[in-house]
Protein backbone atom coordinates (compact mmCIF):
# COMPACT_ATOMS: atom_id res chain seq x y z
CA UNK A 1 0.00 0.00 0.00
CA UNK A 2 2.31 2.75 -1.25
CA UNK A 3 0.96 6.27 -0.85
CA UNK A 4 1.59 8.86 -3.53
CA UNK A 5 2.84 12.32 -2.80
CA UNK A 6 -0.57 13.71 -3.85
CA UNK A 7 -2.29 11.45 -1.29
CA UNK A 8 0.05 12.68 1.44
CA UNK A 9 -0.74 16.27 0.48
CA UNK A 10 -4.47 15.50 0.50
CA UNK A 11 -4.33 13.97 4.00
CA UNK A 12 -2.30 16.92 5.29
CA UNK A 13 -4.93 19.24 3.85
CA UNK A 14 -7.75 17.33 5.59
CA UNK A 15 -5.76 17.41 8.86
CA UNK A 16 -4.87 21.10 8.49
CA UNK A 17 -1.15 20.41 8.85
CA UNK A 18 1.53 22.45 7.15
CA UNK A 19 4.28 20.03 6.10
CA UNK A 20 7.67 20.81 4.63
CA UNK A 21 8.75 19.07 1.41
CA UNK A 22 11.09 16.90 3.45
CA UNK A 23 8.27 15.91 5.85
CA UNK A 24 5.98 14.99 2.96
CA UNK A 25 8.57 12.63 1.56
CA UNK A 26 9.39 11.09 4.95
CA UNK A 27 5.72 10.55 5.85
CA UNK A 28 5.03 9.11 2.42
CA UNK A 29 7.54 6.33 3.10
CA UNK A 30 6.69 5.79 6.77
CA UNK A 31 2.91 5.84 6.37
CA UNK A 32 3.17 3.43 3.44
CA UNK A 33 5.15 0.99 5.63
CA UNK A 34 2.64 1.29 8.48
CA UNK A 35 -0.34 0.80 6.13
CA UNK A 36 1.34 -2.28 4.72
CA UNK A 37 1.67 -3.66 8.26
CA UNK A 38 -1.94 -2.96 9.25
CA UNK A 39 -3.17 -4.55 6.02
CA UNK A 40 -2.81 -7.87 7.91
CA UNK A 41 -6.31 -7.14 9.24
CA UNK A 42 -7.78 -7.60 5.78
CA UNK A 43 -7.09 -11.33 6.01
CA UNK A 44 -9.74 -11.79 8.72
CA UNK A 45 -13.35 -12.50 7.79
CA UNK A 46 -15.39 -10.10 9.92
CA UNK A 47 -18.61 -10.15 7.92
CA UNK A 48 -20.51 -11.52 10.93
CA UNK A 49 -18.74 -9.39 13.57
CA UNK A 50 -20.11 -6.26 15.18
CA UNK A 51 -17.67 -3.35 15.55
CA UNK A 52 -16.53 -2.21 19.00
CA UNK A 53 -16.66 1.53 19.50
CA UNK A 54 -16.66 1.35 23.29
CA UNK A 55 -15.65 -1.35 25.75
CA UNK A 56 -17.78 0.00 28.57
CA UNK A 57 -19.09 -3.16 30.20
CA UNK A 58 -22.31 -1.53 31.38
CA UNK A 59 -24.39 1.50 30.64
CA UNK A 60 -22.99 4.76 31.85
CA UNK A 61 -24.99 6.84 34.26
CA UNK A 62 -26.06 10.31 33.26
CA UNK A 63 -26.05 13.09 35.80
CA UNK A 64 -29.20 15.05 36.57
CA UNK A 65 -29.86 17.71 33.96
CA UNK A 66 -29.35 20.66 36.25
CA UNK A 67 -27.71 23.95 35.40
CA UNK A 68 -24.39 24.47 37.18
CA UNK A 69 -21.66 27.06 37.01
CA UNK A 70 -18.99 26.68 34.32
CA UNK A 71 -15.81 28.63 33.76
CA UNK A 72 -15.95 32.41 34.14
CA UNK A 73 -15.35 34.36 30.94
CA UNK A 74 -12.04 35.68 32.22
CA UNK A 75 -10.87 32.14 33.07
CA UNK A 76 -11.92 30.84 29.67
CA UNK A 77 -9.93 33.62 27.99
CA UNK A 78 -6.82 33.29 30.19
CA UNK A 79 -5.08 30.97 27.74
CA UNK A 80 -6.25 32.73 24.58
CA UNK A 81 -3.47 33.83 22.21
CA UNK A 82 -5.52 36.99 21.60
CA UNK A 83 -8.82 38.28 22.94
CA UNK A 84 -10.91 41.40 22.69
CA UNK A 85 -14.15 42.49 24.37
CA UNK A 86 -14.55 39.14 26.19
CA UNK A 87 -14.15 37.19 22.97
CA UNK A 88 -11.42 35.23 21.19
CA UNK A 89 -9.81 37.40 18.53
CA UNK A 90 -8.79 35.69 15.27
CA UNK A 91 -7.32 36.91 12.00
CA UNK A 92 -9.67 37.52 9.03
CA UNK A 93 -11.49 34.37 7.91
CA UNK A 94 -11.95 35.61 4.35
CA UNK A 95 -8.95 37.24 2.70
Amino acid sequence: MALTREEVEHIALLARLELSEEEKERYRGQLSAILEHVAALQALDTSQIEPTSSVLPRRSRLREDEACAGLETTQALENAPASEKDQFRVPPVLG
Partner: protein, 493 residues
Protein backbone atom coordinates in the same frame (compact mmCIF):
# COMPACT_ATOMS: atom_id res chain seq x y z
CA UNK B 1 23.64 7.02 57.23
CA UNK B 2 22.42 10.28 55.77
CA UNK B 3 18.97 10.80 57.34
CA UNK B 4 17.69 12.62 54.23
CA UNK B 5 18.52 9.61 52.03
CA UNK B 6 16.60 7.41 54.45
CA UNK B 7 13.42 9.46 54.08
CA UNK B 8 13.40 9.18 50.29
CA UNK B 9 13.73 5.40 50.60
CA UNK B 10 10.28 5.19 52.21
CA UNK B 11 7.37 3.90 50.16
CA UNK B 12 3.82 5.28 50.37
CA UNK B 13 2.71 3.25 53.38
CA UNK B 14 5.97 3.97 55.23
CA UNK B 15 5.78 7.71 54.45
CA UNK B 16 2.23 7.84 55.79
CA UNK B 17 3.13 5.89 58.94
CA UNK B 18 6.09 8.20 59.56
CA UNK B 19 3.89 11.27 59.09
CA UNK B 20 1.14 9.83 61.29
CA UNK B 21 3.56 9.01 64.08
CA UNK B 22 4.85 12.59 64.10
CA UNK B 23 8.45 11.48 63.48
CA UNK B 24 8.70 13.80 60.49
CA UNK B 25 6.61 16.65 59.18
CA UNK B 26 5.36 16.88 55.62
CA UNK B 27 7.71 19.85 55.13
CA UNK B 28 10.69 17.69 56.14
CA UNK B 29 9.57 14.81 53.94
CA UNK B 30 8.85 17.08 50.97
CA UNK B 31 12.20 18.84 51.41
CA UNK B 32 13.99 15.47 51.43
CA UNK B 33 12.44 14.50 48.09
CA UNK B 34 13.10 17.97 46.61
CA UNK B 35 16.76 17.76 47.72
CA UNK B 36 17.16 14.40 46.03
CA UNK B 37 15.49 15.73 42.89
CA UNK B 38 17.80 18.77 42.91
CA UNK B 39 20.84 16.50 43.10
CA UNK B 40 19.85 13.84 40.56
CA UNK B 41 17.38 15.48 38.19
CA UNK B 42 20.16 16.79 35.88
CA UNK B 43 20.98 13.13 35.10
CA UNK B 44 17.43 11.72 35.02
CA UNK B 45 15.28 14.59 33.65
CA UNK B 46 12.00 13.13 34.90
CA UNK B 47 10.20 16.48 35.11
CA UNK B 48 8.91 19.04 32.65
CA UNK B 49 7.86 21.44 35.42
CA UNK B 50 9.01 21.31 39.03
CA UNK B 51 6.87 23.09 41.62
CA UNK B 52 9.03 23.26 44.77
CA UNK B 53 7.52 26.43 46.27
CA UNK B 54 4.00 25.17 45.75
CA UNK B 55 4.98 21.78 47.21
CA UNK B 56 6.47 23.30 50.35
CA UNK B 57 3.43 25.54 50.73
CA UNK B 58 1.07 22.54 50.44
CA UNK B 59 3.29 20.62 52.89
CA UNK B 60 3.16 23.46 55.41
CA UNK B 61 -0.63 23.55 55.13
CA UNK B 62 -0.77 19.78 55.57
CA UNK B 63 1.28 20.04 58.74
CA UNK B 64 -0.97 22.79 60.10
CA UNK B 65 -4.05 20.78 59.24
CA UNK B 66 -2.63 17.70 60.94
CA UNK B 67 -1.91 19.67 64.10
CA UNK B 68 -5.44 21.15 64.11
CA UNK B 69 -7.10 17.76 63.53
CA UNK B 70 -5.03 16.12 66.23
CA UNK B 71 -6.21 18.73 68.70
CA UNK B 72 -9.85 17.97 68.02
CA UNK B 73 -9.22 14.23 67.75
CA UNK B 74 -10.59 14.03 64.18
CA UNK B 75 -9.32 11.62 61.53
CA UNK B 76 -6.69 12.95 59.16
CA UNK B 77 -7.22 12.60 55.39
CA UNK B 78 -5.58 9.42 54.05
CA UNK B 79 -2.66 11.04 52.15
CA UNK B 80 -2.14 14.09 54.30
CA UNK B 81 1.28 15.53 53.45
CA UNK B 82 2.39 12.79 51.02
CA UNK B 83 4.54 14.01 48.07
CA UNK B 84 3.47 12.68 44.64
CA UNK B 85 4.24 13.59 41.02
CA UNK B 86 1.68 14.13 38.25
CA UNK B 87 2.15 13.26 34.56
CA UNK B 88 2.05 16.37 32.42
CA UNK B 89 -1.08 15.32 30.52
CA UNK B 90 -3.25 15.82 33.63
CA UNK B 91 -4.51 19.25 34.59
CA UNK B 92 -3.38 20.84 37.84
CA UNK B 93 -4.98 24.24 38.31
CA UNK B 94 -2.46 27.03 37.92
CA UNK B 95 0.46 24.79 36.85
CA UNK B 96 1.23 24.65 33.11
CA UNK B 97 0.22 21.42 31.37
CA UNK B 98 2.34 20.93 28.25
CA UNK B 99 1.57 17.30 27.31
CA UNK B 100 5.22 17.24 26.25
CA UNK B 101 4.24 19.44 23.30
CA UNK B 102 5.41 22.81 22.07
CA UNK B 103 1.82 23.55 21.10
CA UNK B 104 0.83 23.71 24.81
CA UNK B 105 4.05 25.28 26.08
CA UNK B 106 2.20 28.05 27.91
CA UNK B 107 -1.14 26.38 28.62
CA UNK B 108 -2.16 26.85 32.24
CA UNK B 109 -5.33 24.91 33.14
CA UNK B 110 -8.03 26.81 35.01
CA UNK B 111 -9.22 23.65 36.82
CA UNK B 112 -7.99 20.39 38.36
CA UNK B 113 -8.46 16.98 36.78
CA UNK B 114 -10.85 14.91 38.91
CA UNK B 115 -8.08 12.48 39.93
CA UNK B 116 -5.86 15.39 40.92
CA UNK B 117 -8.70 16.98 42.90
CA UNK B 118 -9.49 13.70 44.68
CA UNK B 119 -5.87 13.18 45.71
CA UNK B 120 -5.51 16.83 46.75
CA UNK B 121 -8.62 16.39 48.89
CA UNK B 122 -6.93 13.32 50.36
CA UNK B 123 -3.93 15.48 51.26
CA UNK B 124 -1.36 14.92 48.47
CA UNK B 125 1.51 17.36 47.94
CA UNK B 126 2.41 17.84 44.25
CA UNK B 127 6.17 17.92 43.57
CA UNK B 128 5.88 18.63 39.85
CA UNK B 129 4.70 17.53 36.42
CA UNK B 130 6.57 14.62 34.84
CA UNK B 131 7.86 14.13 31.32
CA UNK B 132 5.88 12.24 28.68
CA UNK B 133 5.97 11.47 25.01
CA UNK B 134 4.11 14.28 23.24
CA UNK B 135 0.37 13.81 23.91
CA UNK B 136 1.29 10.39 25.37
CA UNK B 137 2.17 9.09 21.90
CA UNK B 138 5.25 6.95 22.28
CA UNK B 139 6.98 4.12 24.08
CA UNK B 140 10.24 5.75 25.17
CA UNK B 141 9.59 9.37 26.29
CA UNK B 142 11.92 10.37 23.45
CA UNK B 143 9.01 12.15 21.70
CA UNK B 144 8.88 14.96 24.27
CA UNK B 145 9.54 18.55 23.20
CA UNK B 146 11.23 19.00 26.59
CA UNK B 147 14.06 16.48 26.30
CA UNK B 148 14.55 12.77 26.94
CA UNK B 149 14.13 11.16 30.36
CA UNK B 150 16.91 8.74 31.31
CA UNK B 151 16.34 5.33 32.87
CA UNK B 152 17.64 5.40 36.47
CA UNK B 153 18.98 1.83 36.07
CA UNK B 154 21.13 2.80 33.08
CA UNK B 155 21.26 6.44 32.05
CA UNK B 156 22.00 5.54 28.42
CA UNK B 157 18.62 3.80 28.12
CA UNK B 158 15.02 4.97 27.80
CA UNK B 159 12.65 4.77 30.77
CA UNK B 160 9.86 3.49 28.51
CA UNK B 161 6.83 5.57 27.71
CA UNK B 162 4.77 7.43 27.55
CA UNK B 163 4.71 7.78 31.37
CA UNK B 164 8.53 7.60 31.37
CA UNK B 165 8.93 10.60 33.66
CA UNK B 166 6.53 9.05 36.21
CA UNK B 167 8.31 5.68 36.19
CA UNK B 168 11.78 7.23 36.37
CA UNK B 169 10.65 9.46 39.26
CA UNK B 170 9.45 6.48 41.31
CA UNK B 171 12.52 4.36 40.45
CA UNK B 172 14.91 7.23 41.29
CA UNK B 173 13.15 7.79 44.63
CA UNK B 174 12.06 11.30 43.63
CA UNK B 175 8.61 10.43 44.98
CA UNK B 176 6.99 7.34 46.49
CA UNK B 177 4.27 7.36 43.80
CA UNK B 178 3.40 9.02 40.51
CA UNK B 179 0.25 9.51 38.45
CA UNK B 180 0.47 8.18 34.91
CA UNK B 181 -1.81 7.35 32.00
CA UNK B 182 -2.11 4.24 29.85
CA UNK B 183 -3.61 4.26 26.35
CA UNK B 184 -1.62 1.36 24.90
CA UNK B 185 0.73 0.41 27.74
CA UNK B 186 1.98 3.81 28.88
CA UNK B 187 1.84 2.98 32.61
CA UNK B 188 2.80 -0.69 32.43
CA UNK B 189 5.70 -0.58 29.96
CA UNK B 190 7.64 2.23 31.72
CA UNK B 191 6.89 0.54 35.07
CA UNK B 192 8.45 -2.60 33.61
CA UNK B 193 11.49 -0.76 32.19
CA UNK B 194 12.11 1.07 35.48
CA UNK B 195 11.42 -1.80 37.91
CA UNK B 196 8.34 -0.33 39.60
CA UNK B 197 4.70 -1.40 40.01
CA UNK B 198 2.04 0.24 37.83
CA UNK B 199 -1.71 -0.26 37.43
CA UNK B 200 -3.81 0.46 34.36
CA UNK B 201 -7.33 0.20 35.76
CA UNK B 202 -10.44 -1.04 33.98
CA UNK B 203 -11.69 1.40 31.34
CA UNK B 204 -14.36 3.39 33.17
CA UNK B 205 -12.92 2.89 36.66
CA UNK B 206 -11.15 6.26 36.94
CA UNK B 207 -12.37 9.63 35.69
CA UNK B 208 -10.63 11.23 32.72
CA UNK B 209 -12.03 14.69 33.38
CA UNK B 210 -9.00 16.96 33.10
CA UNK B 211 -6.90 14.36 31.28
CA UNK B 212 -5.91 15.91 27.96
CA UNK B 213 -7.34 13.41 25.48
CA UNK B 214 -5.38 11.15 23.13
CA UNK B 215 -7.47 8.04 22.25
CA UNK B 216 -10.76 8.36 24.05
CA UNK B 217 -11.93 4.75 23.80
CA UNK B 218 -8.58 3.62 25.28
CA UNK B 219 -7.20 6.31 27.65
CA UNK B 220 -6.99 5.34 31.35
CA UNK B 221 -5.48 7.17 34.31
CA UNK B 222 -3.33 4.94 36.49
CA UNK B 223 -0.67 5.09 39.15
CA UNK B 224 2.93 3.93 39.58
CA UNK B 225 4.41 3.09 42.96
CA UNK B 226 6.90 0.76 44.61
CA UNK B 227 4.48 -2.06 45.48
CA UNK B 228 1.09 -3.50 44.60
CA UNK B 229 -0.12 -2.51 48.06
CA UNK B 230 0.79 1.16 47.51
CA UNK B 231 -0.68 1.20 44.00
CA UNK B 232 -3.93 -0.27 45.27
CA UNK B 233 -4.11 2.22 48.12
CA UNK B 234 -3.81 5.19 45.74
CA UNK B 235 -6.07 3.73 43.05
CA UNK B 236 -8.88 3.31 45.57
CA UNK B 237 -8.68 7.03 46.33
CA UNK B 238 -8.70 7.94 42.62
CA UNK B 239 -11.42 5.58 41.43
CA UNK B 240 -15.17 5.87 41.18
CA UNK B 241 -18.04 7.51 39.34
CA UNK B 242 -17.55 11.14 38.31
CA UNK B 243 -20.54 13.15 37.06
CA UNK B 244 -18.04 15.08 34.91
CA UNK B 245 -16.99 11.98 32.94
CA UNK B 246 -19.84 10.05 31.33
CA UNK B 247 -17.51 7.08 30.73
CA UNK B 248 -16.99 6.43 34.44
CA UNK B 249 -19.03 3.52 35.70
CA UNK B 250 -20.90 3.51 38.94
CA UNK B 251 -19.52 0.35 40.52
CA UNK B 252 -18.27 0.20 44.10
CA UNK B 253 -14.52 0.35 44.69
CA UNK B 254 -13.67 -2.82 46.60
CA UNK B 255 -12.01 -2.87 49.98
CA UNK B 256 -8.30 -3.65 50.04
CA UNK B 257 -7.30 -7.00 48.59
CA UNK B 258 -3.75 -6.76 49.95
CA UNK B 259 -4.20 -8.77 53.12
CA UNK B 260 -1.02 -9.70 54.90
CA UNK B 261 -1.65 -13.43 54.75
CA UNK B 262 -4.10 -13.64 51.87
CA UNK B 263 -3.73 -17.09 50.35
CA UNK B 264 -4.12 -17.74 46.65
CA UNK B 265 -5.62 -21.22 46.69
CA UNK B 266 -8.55 -21.62 44.32
CA UNK B 267 -7.31 -18.92 41.93
CA UNK B 268 -6.48 -19.80 38.34
CA UNK B 269 -3.97 -17.85 36.26
CA UNK B 270 -3.72 -18.35 32.51
CA UNK B 271 -0.47 -18.13 30.56
CA UNK B 272 -1.22 -17.23 26.91
CA UNK B 273 1.07 -18.95 24.45
CA UNK B 274 0.84 -16.02 22.00
CA UNK B 275 2.88 -13.85 24.40
CA UNK B 276 5.98 -16.04 24.16
CA UNK B 277 6.90 -15.47 20.55
CA UNK B 278 10.08 -15.43 18.52
CA UNK B 279 11.87 -12.17 19.11
CA UNK B 280 11.17 -12.05 22.84
CA UNK B 281 14.37 -11.53 24.86
CA UNK B 282 15.09 -14.99 26.38
CA UNK B 283 15.77 -13.50 29.83
CA UNK B 284 12.33 -11.84 29.79
CA UNK B 285 10.63 -15.14 29.00
CA UNK B 286 12.66 -16.94 31.69
CA UNK B 287 11.91 -14.34 34.40
CA UNK B 288 8.19 -14.30 33.62
CA UNK B 289 7.98 -18.11 33.61
CA UNK B 290 9.84 -18.22 36.92
CA UNK B 291 7.43 -15.68 38.41
CA UNK B 292 4.51 -17.79 37.21
CA UNK B 293 6.21 -20.73 38.94
CA UNK B 294 6.27 -18.74 42.19
CA UNK B 295 2.54 -18.12 41.82
CA UNK B 296 2.14 -21.88 41.42
CA UNK B 297 4.04 -22.45 44.67
CA UNK B 298 1.69 -19.97 46.35
CA UNK B 299 -1.28 -22.15 45.49
CA UNK B 300 -2.39 -20.65 42.16
CA UNK B 301 -3.43 -23.15 39.53
CA UNK B 302 -1.52 -22.35 36.32
CA UNK B 303 -3.33 -23.00 33.04
CA UNK B 304 -1.99 -22.76 29.48
CA UNK B 305 -4.42 -20.63 27.49
CA UNK B 306 -4.73 -19.07 24.05
CA UNK B 307 -5.64 -15.51 23.08
CA UNK B 308 -5.67 -16.25 19.36
CA UNK B 309 -6.06 -12.70 18.02
CA UNK B 310 -3.13 -11.25 19.96
CA UNK B 311 -1.08 -10.61 16.81
CA UNK B 312 -3.80 -8.32 15.47
CA UNK B 313 -3.74 -6.00 18.49
CA UNK B 314 -0.94 -3.94 17.01
CA UNK B 315 -2.59 -3.14 13.66
CA UNK B 316 -5.95 -2.58 15.40
CA UNK B 317 -4.44 -0.18 17.92
CA UNK B 318 -2.41 1.73 15.33
CA UNK B 319 -5.60 2.45 13.39
CA UNK B 320 -8.02 3.15 16.24
CA UNK B 321 -5.73 5.25 18.45
CA UNK B 322 -4.51 7.53 15.62
CA UNK B 323 -8.08 7.87 14.31
CA UNK B 324 -9.29 9.03 17.72
CA UNK B 325 -6.19 11.21 18.12
CA UNK B 326 -6.80 12.93 14.79
CA UNK B 327 -10.24 13.95 16.05
CA UNK B 328 -9.14 14.84 19.59
CA UNK B 329 -6.20 16.94 18.42
CA UNK B 330 -8.33 18.91 15.96
CA UNK B 331 -8.95 21.29 18.87
CA UNK B 332 -5.40 22.68 18.65
CA UNK B 333 -6.09 25.34 16.07
CA UNK B 334 -4.52 28.42 17.65
CA UNK B 335 -7.89 30.00 18.50
CA UNK B 336 -8.63 29.42 22.19
CA UNK B 337 -5.35 28.19 23.70
CA UNK B 338 -1.95 26.92 22.71
CA UNK B 339 0.52 28.07 20.10
CA UNK B 340 -0.74 30.51 17.45
CA UNK B 341 1.34 31.26 14.39
CA UNK B 342 -0.38 34.30 12.97
CA UNK B 343 0.69 34.77 9.38
CA UNK B 344 -1.99 35.54 6.82
CA UNK B 345 -5.64 34.76 7.48
CA UNK B 346 -7.44 32.19 9.59
CA UNK B 347 -6.81 29.11 7.36
CA UNK B 348 -3.06 29.83 7.28
CA UNK B 349 -3.15 30.17 11.07
CA UNK B 350 -4.61 26.65 11.41
CA UNK B 351 -2.03 25.05 9.11
CA UNK B 352 1.00 26.87 10.51
CA UNK B 353 0.11 26.65 14.21
CA UNK B 354 -0.43 22.89 13.88
CA UNK B 355 2.47 22.30 11.50
CA UNK B 356 4.95 24.03 13.80
CA UNK B 357 3.40 23.23 17.17
CA UNK B 358 3.17 19.42 16.83
CA UNK B 359 6.22 17.14 16.81
CA UNK B 360 7.01 14.42 14.27
CA UNK B 361 5.23 11.47 15.94
CA UNK B 362 2.06 13.44 16.66
CA UNK B 363 1.87 14.63 13.06
CA UNK B 364 2.49 11.07 11.88
CA UNK B 365 -0.41 9.73 13.96
CA UNK B 366 -2.73 12.57 12.95
CA UNK B 367 -1.94 11.79 9.30
CA UNK B 368 -2.46 8.05 9.82
CA UNK B 369 -5.73 8.58 11.67
CA UNK B 370 -7.02 11.11 9.17
CA UNK B 371 -6.30 8.64 6.38
CA UNK B 372 -8.02 5.75 8.21
CA UNK B 373 -11.14 7.90 8.65
CA UNK B 374 -11.18 9.48 5.21
CA UNK B 375 -13.80 8.86 2.54
CA UNK B 376 -13.18 5.62 0.67
CA UNK B 377 -10.88 4.14 3.33
CA UNK B 378 -13.07 4.25 6.45
CA UNK B 379 -14.56 0.74 6.12
CA UNK B 380 -11.32 -0.95 5.09
CA UNK B 381 -9.24 0.56 7.89
CA UNK B 382 -11.12 2.07 10.82
CA UNK B 383 -14.25 -0.09 10.41
CA UNK B 384 -12.27 -3.30 10.05
CA UNK B 385 -10.10 -2.39 13.07
CA UNK B 386 -13.23 -1.91 15.19
CA UNK B 387 -14.49 -5.35 14.18
CA UNK B 388 -11.20 -7.06 14.94
CA UNK B 389 -11.26 -5.25 18.28
CA UNK B 390 -14.43 -7.21 19.00
CA UNK B 391 -12.53 -10.45 18.33
CA UNK B 392 -9.74 -9.39 20.72
CA UNK B 393 -12.33 -8.64 23.43
CA UNK B 394 -13.94 -12.02 22.80
CA UNK B 395 -10.55 -13.73 23.32
CA UNK B 396 -10.39 -12.22 26.81
CA UNK B 397 -14.04 -13.03 27.58
CA UNK B 398 -13.38 -16.66 26.68
CA UNK B 399 -10.17 -16.77 28.72
CA UNK B 400 -11.86 -15.32 31.80
CA UNK B 401 -14.42 -18.14 31.68
CA UNK B 402 -11.51 -20.43 32.54
CA UNK B 403 -9.09 -18.29 34.55
CA UNK B 404 -9.20 -15.42 37.06
CA UNK B 405 -6.19 -13.58 35.62
CA UNK B 406 -3.78 -13.75 32.70
CA UNK B 407 -0.01 -13.52 33.29
CA UNK B 408 2.29 -12.30 30.52
CA UNK B 409 5.39 -10.23 29.85
CA UNK B 410 4.75 -6.47 29.68
CA UNK B 411 7.16 -5.94 26.78
CA UNK B 412 9.28 -8.25 24.62
CA UNK B 413 12.54 -6.69 25.84
CA UNK B 414 14.05 -4.70 28.68
CA UNK B 415 14.78 -0.97 28.31
CA UNK B 416 16.40 -0.20 24.96
CA UNK B 417 19.13 2.40 24.32
CA UNK B 418 18.14 6.04 23.80
CA UNK B 419 17.98 6.58 20.04
CA UNK B 420 17.93 2.81 19.50
CA UNK B 421 14.96 2.88 17.13
CA UNK B 422 16.24 5.84 15.12
CA UNK B 423 13.55 7.15 12.83
CA UNK B 424 11.71 3.84 12.39
CA UNK B 425 8.18 4.29 13.79
CA UNK B 426 7.12 0.71 13.09
CA UNK B 427 10.03 -0.71 15.14
CA UNK B 428 8.92 1.52 18.02
CA UNK B 429 5.27 0.42 17.68
CA UNK B 430 6.37 -3.22 17.98
CA UNK B 431 7.51 -2.46 21.55
CA UNK B 432 3.80 -2.25 22.48
CA UNK B 433 2.79 -5.65 21.17
CA UNK B 434 2.03 -7.17 24.63
CA UNK B 435 0.54 -4.11 26.30
CA UNK B 436 -2.03 -3.07 23.66
CA UNK B 437 -4.54 -5.94 24.07
CA UNK B 438 -5.58 -4.89 27.60
CA UNK B 439 -6.48 -1.40 26.35
CA UNK B 440 -8.40 -2.74 23.37
CA UNK B 441 -10.39 -5.06 25.65
CA UNK B 442 -10.72 -2.44 28.41
CA UNK B 443 -9.48 -4.88 31.06
CA UNK B 444 -7.22 -3.91 33.98
CA UNK B 445 -3.48 -4.62 33.85
CA UNK B 446 -0.99 -4.58 36.70
CA UNK B 447 2.75 -4.55 35.92
CA UNK B 448 5.39 -5.39 38.53
CA UNK B 449 9.07 -6.37 38.57
CA UNK B 450 9.98 -10.06 38.40
CA UNK B 451 13.72 -10.04 37.70
CA UNK B 452 16.70 -8.50 35.92
CA UNK B 453 18.51 -9.25 32.69
CA UNK B 454 22.28 -9.77 32.48
CA UNK B 455 22.81 -6.00 32.10
CA UNK B 456 20.98 -5.39 35.38
CA UNK B 457 17.87 -3.99 33.70
CA UNK B 458 14.48 -4.70 35.30
CA UNK B 459 12.02 -7.19 33.77
CA UNK B 460 8.28 -6.76 34.31
CA UNK B 461 5.33 -9.11 34.28
CA UNK B 462 1.70 -8.06 33.89
CA UNK B 463 -1.45 -9.58 35.25
CA UNK B 464 -4.63 -8.81 33.35
CA UNK B 465 -8.05 -9.40 34.87
CA UNK B 466 -11.78 -9.23 34.34
CA UNK B 467 -13.46 -5.84 34.09
CA UNK B 468 -13.54 -4.17 37.53
CA UNK B 469 -11.60 -7.02 39.16
CA UNK B 470 -8.42 -5.09 39.89
CA UNK B 471 -8.63 -6.57 43.40
CA UNK B 472 -7.74 -10.04 42.10
CA UNK B 473 -4.62 -8.65 40.42
CA UNK B 474 -3.57 -6.75 43.54
CA UNK B 475 -4.17 -9.79 45.70
CA UNK B 476 -1.92 -11.98 43.55
CA UNK B 477 0.84 -9.37 43.09
CA UNK B 478 0.85 -8.46 46.77
CA UNK B 479 1.30 -12.08 47.79
CA UNK B 480 4.08 -12.42 45.18
CA UNK B 481 5.81 -9.33 46.59
CA UNK B 482 5.64 -10.78 50.09
CA UNK B 483 7.76 -13.75 49.08
CA UNK B 484 10.07 -12.01 46.57
CA UNK B 485 12.13 -8.82 46.74
CA UNK B 486 12.41 -7.64 43.12
CA UNK B 487 10.17 -4.68 43.91
CA UNK B 488 12.42 -3.38 46.69
CA UNK B 489 15.58 -3.34 44.54
CA UNK B 490 16.72 0.21 43.80
CA UNK B 491 19.09 1.59 41.16
CA UNK B 492 22.45 2.94 42.31
CA UNK B 493 22.48 6.69 41.70
Amino acid sequence: MNPMAALTDLDVKECLRTLDSGQVSSVELTRAFLKRIERLEPEIRAFITLTPERALDEARKADERRAALEKTGEDTPPLLGLPITVKDVLCVKGVRATCGSKILENFCPPFNATVVQRLLDAGMVILGKTNTDEFAMGSSTENSAYGVTHNPWDLSRVPGGSSGGSAAAVAARFAPAALGTDTGGSVRQPASFCGVTGIKPTYGRVSRYGLIAYGSSLDCVGVLARSAEDAEYLLRLMAGYDPRDATTIDVPVPQTACHAKGHLKGLRVGVPKEYFITGIQPEVERAVREAVGVLGELGVEIVEISLPHTEYALPVYYLIAPAEASANLARYDGVRYGLRVEEGGMPEMFFRSRGRGFGAEVKRRIMLGTYALSAGYYDAYYGQAQKVRTLIRADFDAAFEKVDAVAAPVAPTTAFPIGGHGDDPLAMYLEDVFSLPANLAGVPGLAFPVGFDQDGLPIGMQLMGRHFEEDTLFRIAHRFQQVTDWHVCAPTL
